[in-house]
């Protein structure tokens, strides 16, 4: 009986300590020192939240850089991948469809980077590879009725937005699609 009583008391205090005080303490520190990050790294435009820097969102209009395919179509409620296996006929068909669509949307260019063919794990991957961004430049120029001489401008914009591996070695070089598209819009606005 004493065992049960001690159990109950210790469990209650442990719950308060690890389930209440600990998360509250972290929340407090986060609020003071990392307010924006703790709140989801949201990006605002004219006072409206247009998304999170960390959460991928869908772009399907030809004048924007497109993100990776997503099993949830960038719906974050809930997140998740396709979970299709390495011998899945369904996955094979999806890849074929994506390949066809990308080739026809990008002027017949068959050199498609792998990340544009495969869906991410979270369905919310905010990044694409630098190659995947470069692959889409011609389409964007055409869709925005821009002269082909501006291609270098866009390629430079892509290069500026490559995020290098952390500490020079961890992770892969990548480009945040939302940030790149916002930069693209503002760059072209300035030029007009």
């Amino acid at each position: 009986m004493k065992t049960v009583l001690t159990s109950i008391k210790l469990f209650l205090f442990m719950t308060i300590l690890t389930g209440l005080l600990y998360p509250l303490f972290i929340t407090g520190i986060a609020k003071v020192f990392f307010s924006e990050k703790a709140g989801g790294s949201m990006i605002k435009q004219n006072g409206i939240i247009i998304g999170s820097e960390l959460i991928g969102q869908n772009f399907s209009e030809p004048q924007y850089f497109w993100p990776r395919p997503s099993a949830t179509n960038y719906n974050a409620m809930p997140s998740g991948g396709s979970n299709l296996g390495p011998t899945s006929a369904e996955l094979k068909k999806e890849i074929e469809n994506r390949r066809k669509q990308l080739i026809s949307a990008n002027g017949g260019n068959e050199n498609i980077p792998a990340d544009l063919l495969f869906g991410s794990a979270s369905g919310l991957d905010p990044d694409i590879s630098p190659q995947a961004a470069r692959y889409q430049v011609d389409r964007i120029l055409a869709a925005r009725d821009l002269d082909h001489s501006l291609k270098t401008l866009l390629l430079n914009l892509i290069d500026e937005h490559i995020e290098r591996p952390d500490l020079g070695v961890l992770g892969e070089p990548r480009i945040n699609v939302l940030k790149l598209n916002l930069a693209l819009d503002s760059l072209l606005k300035v030029r007009k």
């Binding site: 409620m77 809930p78 991948g81 979970n83 296996g85 011998t87 990044d127």
Partner: protein
């Protein structure tokens, strides 16, 4: 693979090997009752808890009393998580106004978090309120890990005590694990994670109006505090459905490194703590080397498989279910780390890995998660194999085996076998039943051998208390919620209770000094026999099932088949 890929792997291994010994020393100091640098800061918390709960730190428990305390404490954890889920609609901190969780799912989740499995049949962001996540799941993340640590401490005392009736005090072991080890490390990791962009807030989900005008609802929550302990405590249950692949749980390659390191850190350190406490440093170092080599072997095979051409899909690089910030190498590293430990969080979807990479993940769990393994659980699981090895070596020379000065007799071997075969039987029986039930087969997302792998993985993950999944399987059905819930429950205690029984039985024995005939446990011969024992038990039990799942899928993939 490039130099860059190898560099990342080497950095991971070097940092792990450098951090484990000092942390092990620190843990040995804590559990040995010595004063450490943290005592001035949090020592008062331990005394306060002891006073408030009426814990007498000098009181000693026999193995039965120790087990009873452990079981009661776990029952309370189970009850708290289930009640929070069944009532969350009416409780505070539920900004998304999520409804109560259905009973079968609530049962599954409560067992899952109590047993350090953290299998998830639900999607966190659309199922559980902030209160349930915090007060239910975060708490169990701490307490189930501390429970694991208490068991290994009891087992170590069984080894070092002579003709003793007791194996320690469960309350003291549990409290110290939380206050001096899990909580301080979680504070550090949580703050690192917030600094990288992991969210930590009580604000409700935000509706963003995207650049193209699409509305996207973005979930938030007290995530960093939960993710930190989910990794350190080898729990693995994600705040969100995509687990550590979700950008809000794991936003950068740096957060990925810190989290994957945290998964193995405490378990690796515990090997050294064991060596210090049992006064068998060289023996512990040999065990560490065996673990490290098995880890490296699994990693090598998994990387080789994932980097090979896939004729079925006709692609060289399969990025399905992987995130760009991590890439292939980090995704594979994580899949090996998380299944060597009993963690089970994922940063890439295991179901979409190449057949052998997914198979390695499964096999790691089948071996009993003793390659570093879960917090506490990895080390006591490994010691069961050590006992078995010593016993087999004794059989070969026809002499009663000894281990660290204790005779190993029928009872210890029976208990070790019960624990090892108990989990293995659960996996095989559970999978076999699911394979013939139409209701269970209806949950499969993939056809062909991959379908069998989904079922096999689910029962392996549950019985082994891992929690990762071939997540195409729709496990949120009454059958899977209950069958997997029971697997987790039995899989946890069929190892813990025999381990404590061994602790009690060893403690009662007198010291048998080593003689010339004693089988040495601190040399290469022992390392080889230990590794062979682990692999033979695992392979003999699971090879037939694995050959029908991942292995045949590998060969069919090589022939270009699709299902």
């Amino acid at each position: 693979m490039s130099v860059h890929d190898f560099a990342q792997l080497i950095i991971y291994i070097v940092v792990l090997v450098l951090l484990a010994p000092p942390l092990g020393q620190y843990m040995a100091d804590i559990f040995g009752g010595r004063r450490t640098f943290l005592h001035p800061a949090v020592g008062w918390l331990e005394s306060a808890l002891n006073r408030l709960c009426g814990i007498n730190t000098d009181e000693e428990m026999g193995w039965k009393k120790y087990s009873m305390a452990l079981v009661w404490f776990n029952i309370l954890g189970f009850a708290a998580v289930i009640v929070l889920q069944l009532l969350q609609k009416w409780l505070p901190l539920n900004p998304q106004k999520l409804g109560n969780v259905p009973p079968a799912l609530a049962f599954n989740t409560a067992v899952s978090f109590m047993t350090n499995t953290n299998w998830q049949s639900y999607a966190g962001e659309t199922t559980l309120s902030y209160l349930t996540q915090m007060l239910g799941l975060t708490v169990q993340n701490f307490l189930s890990a501390a429970t694991g640590m208490a068991v290994i401490l009891a087992l170590i005392r069984g080894i070092i005590r002579k003709t003793a009736l007791t194996i320690g005090n469960f309350w003291v072991d549990l409290t110290r694990s939380v206050i001096y080890i899990l909580l301080p490390l979680s504070l550090i990791l949580a703050l690192i994670l917030v600094g990288q962009g992991v969210v930590q807030t009580f604000a409700p989900a935000i509706k963003a109006v995207g650049v193209e005008g699409t509305i996207q609802e973005i979930p938030l929550g007290p995530v960093a505090s939960q993710v930190a302990i989910k990794q350190l405590g080898t729990n693995g249950g994600g705040f969100f459905n995509a687990n550590s692949a979700h950008p809000f749980e794991n936003p950068t390659a740096l957060s990925n490194f810190a989290e994957s390191l945290a998964i193995l850190l405490i378990s690796a350190a515990l090997v050294f703590a064991f060596g210090i406490m049992a006064n068998a440093r060289k023996h512990a170092a040999i065990i560490f080397v065996v673990m490290l080599l098995m880890f490296a072997a699994g990693l090598t095979l998994s990387l080789y498989s994932e980097y090979s051409y896939n004729p079925s899909l006709g692609v060289q690089t399969n990025l399905e279910g992987k995130e760009m910030r991590f890439g292939v190498t980090n995704s594979i590293l994580w899949s090996v780390v998380t299944t060597d430990a009993s963690n089970g969080s994922v940063d890439a979807m295991h179901s979409s890995l190449s057949p052998l990479s997914g198979g390695i993940a499964m096999f790691n769990i089948m071996l009993g998660e003793i390659i570093f393994g879960g917090v506490g659980a990895g080390m006591y699981g490994m010691l069961l194999f050590v006992l078995l090895t010593v016993f087999l070596a004794g059989l070969m020379v026809g002499r009663t085996p000894e281990y660290l000065g204790k005779k190993i007799e029928a009872r210890e071997v029976q208990m070790a076998i019960l624990a090892i075969l108990g989990t293995n039987a659960l996996i095989m029986i559970g999978s076999a039943v699911a394979c013939v039930l139409p209701a269970a087969l209806a949950s499969l997302a993939n056809k062909g051998p991959h379908g069998l792998s989904e079922i096999l993985y689910a029962f392996t993950s549950a019985a082994g208390n891992n929690g990762s999944a071939f997540a195409g399987l729709n496990a949120n059905t009454d059958f899977y919620n209950i069958a997997l819930g029971l697997s987790m429950l039995i899989g946890r205690f069929v190892v813990i209770i025999p381990s404590l029984a061994i602790a009690g039985s060893l403690a009662a024995k007198k010291y048998s000094p080593p003689s010339t005939g004693t089988f040495a446990t601190d040399n290469i011969t022992f390392a080889v026999i230990l590794a062979a024992t682990i692999l033979i038990v695992g392979a003999l039990t699971f090879f037939p099932a694995l050959s029908l799942g991942p292995i045949i899928e590998h060969f069919l993939m090589r022939a270009g088949a699709i299902f």
